[in-house]
């Protein structure tokens, strides 16, 4: 009998192991010394990024004609899994693409501080904060990502409102929304919180209309008082907006990508807190409702002492692995990837707001011009300052807030605890 049990275990063990297979990366080509640099990203295979990659390669080839650059495009939904495996084994690409904020900061240990190599670019490029941690810069920004509040000028007009004068205060904003809903049947906000992203956009999009400049600075600097009246007000607004019927139905089962944006595209909602680059942005909205109908408005003032600003950060950027053979060479590649010519191509083809402040973006429609005009006064977005863990918890709690299974005070206590632990 004992022997039989032993056999059983031996037979079952490999079977059971199927339950816990780990994500193995594809054959990762190691870069380094032998005149090859390997770049990992999720962009280079896109048709819209082709000209950008070509420009960057050409720029780099001019400086280092004997070095070959290999771009490996990974699927985005597996990107950080694969990168995590590479970092764990201490070998992988020399240069890699990152989203700004938590995804980069969580992996700063595996990256090379770049401030000495990139000193010349500091002025020309914007959005460094999202790629910095503990006083070091770990990646150079390629695009800017932010959260403007877009509105549908056609709906404003249909409701008899002035499309060029959106509400400046929260009270007026609510009144406008009511008028629009009555006249057109469109909801106030297109909102999707299935993945828990809705609250992030809400926090950053409306936060600058609630927090005072001092509170805002403290938040970004890391001194976050989750129980302050301002922060509490933002989360109360999140609940109130849904209860007052400002959002589309089924917020917790509506995916932000792309059901939420589809609601705005279809003219079924008057406002959406969108993005600046890549997706859910001016270019996409313009294709559906007409570029002339896409408006951008500052956050309505909830607190009269607040100073609304455009929340934006570095969107994506290239960093250098700490294990690379020749740091200077890899940093040079990062410089090529953020050269003006390359970024101009990226802006033109992919519809991204590039990090290079010297690019003229005024020709792409009124919304783009508005956004670019606000960049000099813009500030880092509130949610980007949070760790990936706190963001995940905030997403879950925001769903519970909408279903009423947690109170605002409870949620803020939990968030404060998670924020301090991280």
């Amino acid at each position: 009998m004992k022997r039989r049990a032993l056999w059983s275990t031996a037979l079952i063990a490999p079977l059971a192991l199927y339950g816990c297979g780990s994500a193995a990366g594809p054959e990762s080509s190691e870069g380094g010394g032998d005149g090859t640099l390997v770049v990992w990203d999720w962009k280079s295979a896109d048709a819209t990024a082709e000209s950008y990659i070509e420009e960057a390669k050409a720029d780099f080839a001019e400086k280092h004609p004997d070095v070959e650059v290999e771009f490996v495009a990974q699927p985005f939904d597996q990107y950080y899994n694969l990168l995590g495996t590479a970092i764990q084994s201490g070998e992988g690409p020399d240069v890699m693409l990152f989203n700004g904020g938590g995804q980069l900061r969580d992996r700063a240990d595996a990256l090379l501080p770049l401030e000495d190599y990139l000193a010349e670019d500091m002025e020309r490029l914007a959005g460094w904060e999202a790629f910095s941690a503990d006083g070091h810069v770990y990646a150079a920004p390629v695009t800017l990502q932010g959260h403007p509040i877009y509105y549908n000028k056609a709906l404003y007009e249909e409701a008899g409102l002035d499309p060029e004068a959106p509400a400046a205060t929260w009270g007026d904003f609510l009144a406008d929304c009511e008028t629009i809903t009555e006249a057109t049947g469109a909801k106030c906000f297109a909102m999707g919180n299935k993945e828990g992203y809705g609250i992030q956009f809400f926090l950053s999009g409306l936060g600058s209309g609630v927090l005072t400049a001092q509170e805002y600075d403290d938040w970004i600097a890391g001194n976050r008082d989750w129980n302050s009246p301002g922060v509490k007000r933002i989360f109360e607004l999140w609940v109130e907006a849904d209860q007052a019927g400002l959002n589309n139905d089924g917020v917790n089962s509506t995916a932000m990508f792309n059901d939420e944006f589809a609601i705005f595209d279809a003219g079924e909602a008057a406002h959406v807190i969108g993005l600046m680059s890549d997706i859910g942005h001016w270019k996409e909205f313009g294709e559906f409702i007409g570029a002339e109908n896409v408006g951008v408005m500052p956050a309505p003032l909830v607190n009269p002492e607040a100073a609304p600003n455009l929340p934006f950060d570095g969107g994506i950027g290239y960093g250098v692995a700490e294990w690379t053979g020749d740091p200077e060479l890899a940093a040079d590649l990062v410089r090529s990837l953020t050269s003006t010519a390359a970024l101009e191509a990226f802006y033109a083809d992919a519809g991204a707001i590039a990090a290079d402040t010297t690019i003229d973006a005024s020709t792409a429609g009124p919304a783009t011009a508005d956004i670019v005009a606000q960049i000099p006064t813009g500030r880092p977005a509130l949610h980007v300052a949070l760790s990936a863990e706190t963001l995940e918890l905030m997403g879950r709690l925001s769903q519970e807030l909408l279903s009423g299974s947690v109170t605002v005070d409870d949620a803020l206590d939990q968030l404060a605890e998670s924020d301090q632990a991280g």
Binding site: I12, C20, G250, Q399
Partner: protein
């Protein structure tokens, strides 16, 4: 089948080790035919003793090198830290974090829920197969229709049901037409897990149905005819004739359905709910993927893998016990 393989030792090993000269006679005769090696007759027992080990070696090495060794590494890794404590031994910290994490406890609760829902998942194909076997009108059509979803990938099925179960989707439109309020199928934490399991059952019951139909093929039709002649109603025929006759098939379906539920729902969850709403549809697999990739906490993910491994081991041994008992009944 299993009984025979594991119950008696391999014959060649037995004769070589235990057997006196007479017992190895056939082998010796075989050797003799090769001629040149006749002179080394005294060494034969050693070679014979080694032969079985050499023969099993590839299989053992593959299991040990590619399965057990990585498993040991993984378990070992689960006792190290993440982030700042990368590489340092942290004892049971990861396991403490795990069982303190509401997401992980939710995922384990959902495993329990899956076990509770198992009878439903077996009953549905069982009943439908019974109807087909009893030749309800149109049974030929149903046989292929029921199997059809089994050929679709979970991602496609998830995408289809995302549309059907959307808040403003057809399912709620249908409910509205009969005067019932809309249900937020994938947005209500009390409903979402059932919706996902229901979709999983819909997607996979075709396979179980085929197994049931195969089982029915072995059923003695004269028994059912006899029961009918005696005036037994349909429920009684099912209860007293069909179910006992299919006991082994049912056990097999229970085991395979259980494995399917525990190991292949990742795709559906990933596409349909992403673990939400409020973390109510997390399963251990999804949790592991999430911690490893999204939160970059590979050591914590290893700890969760180790716990899942133990659960699967327990379930696997239980299944073997069930299979063995069914073998004995035979």
């Amino acid at each position: 089948m299993l009984e025979k393989e594991t119950g008696s030792p391999p014959p060649s090993a037995g004769t070589a080790v235990v057997g006196p000269a007479e017992a190895t006679a056939p082998v010796a005769a075989h050797r003799q035919a090769r001629g040149p090696r006749r002179g080394r007759a005294r060494r034969r027992p050693l070679a014979e003793r080694l032969a079985p080990y050499v023969l099993v070696a590839p299989a053992v090495l593959v299991i040990a090198g590619l399965r057990l060794y990585p498993l040991a590494l993984g378990v070992n890794f689960s006792f190290t830290g993440d982030g700042d404590r990368n590489g340092q031994a942290v004892g049971w910290d990861n396991y403490a974090i795990l069982f303190d994490d509401p997401l992980f406890t939710e995922s384990m609760r959902n495993v329990g829920l899956l076990v509770l829902l198992l009878p439903v998942a077996v009953l549905i194909p069982g009943l439908l197969a019974t109807f087909i076997y009893l030749r309800v009108p149109g049974h030929r059509v149903y046989r292929s229709v029921y199997f059809f979803p089994a050929v679709l990938s979970p991602v496609i099925i998830g995408a289809i049901f995302n549309l059907l179960l959307a808040f403003d989707g057809p399912a709620n439109a249908l409910l509205g037409a009969v005067g019932l309020g809309p249900v937020d199928w994938l947005g209500d934490p009390g409903v979402a897990i059932y919706a996902v399991v229901a979709v999983h059952v819909w997607a996979t019951f075709g396979m179980a149905l085929v197994v049931f139909l195969a089982g029915f093929a072995t059923l003695d039709a004269s028994l059912i005819d006899a029961a009918r002649v005696d005036g037994a109603s349909l429920p009684r025929v099912i209860r007293h004739v069909i179910v006992p006759g299919l006991s082994r098939t049912i056990q097999f379906v229970v085991v395979t359905t259980m494995i399917g539920m525990l190991t292949s729902m990742f795709g559906l969850i990933y596409v349909m709910t992403g673990g939400g709403p409020e973390g109510s549809t997390y399963l251990p697999e999804y949790y592991i993927w999430f911690q490893q990739g999204q939160m970059s906490r590979p050591a914590l993910a290893s700890a969760a893998s180790t716990v899942l491994f133990c659960v699967m081991l327990a379930v696997g041994l239980l299944q073997l016990a069930i299979l063995r008992r069914s073998g004995r009944e035979d």
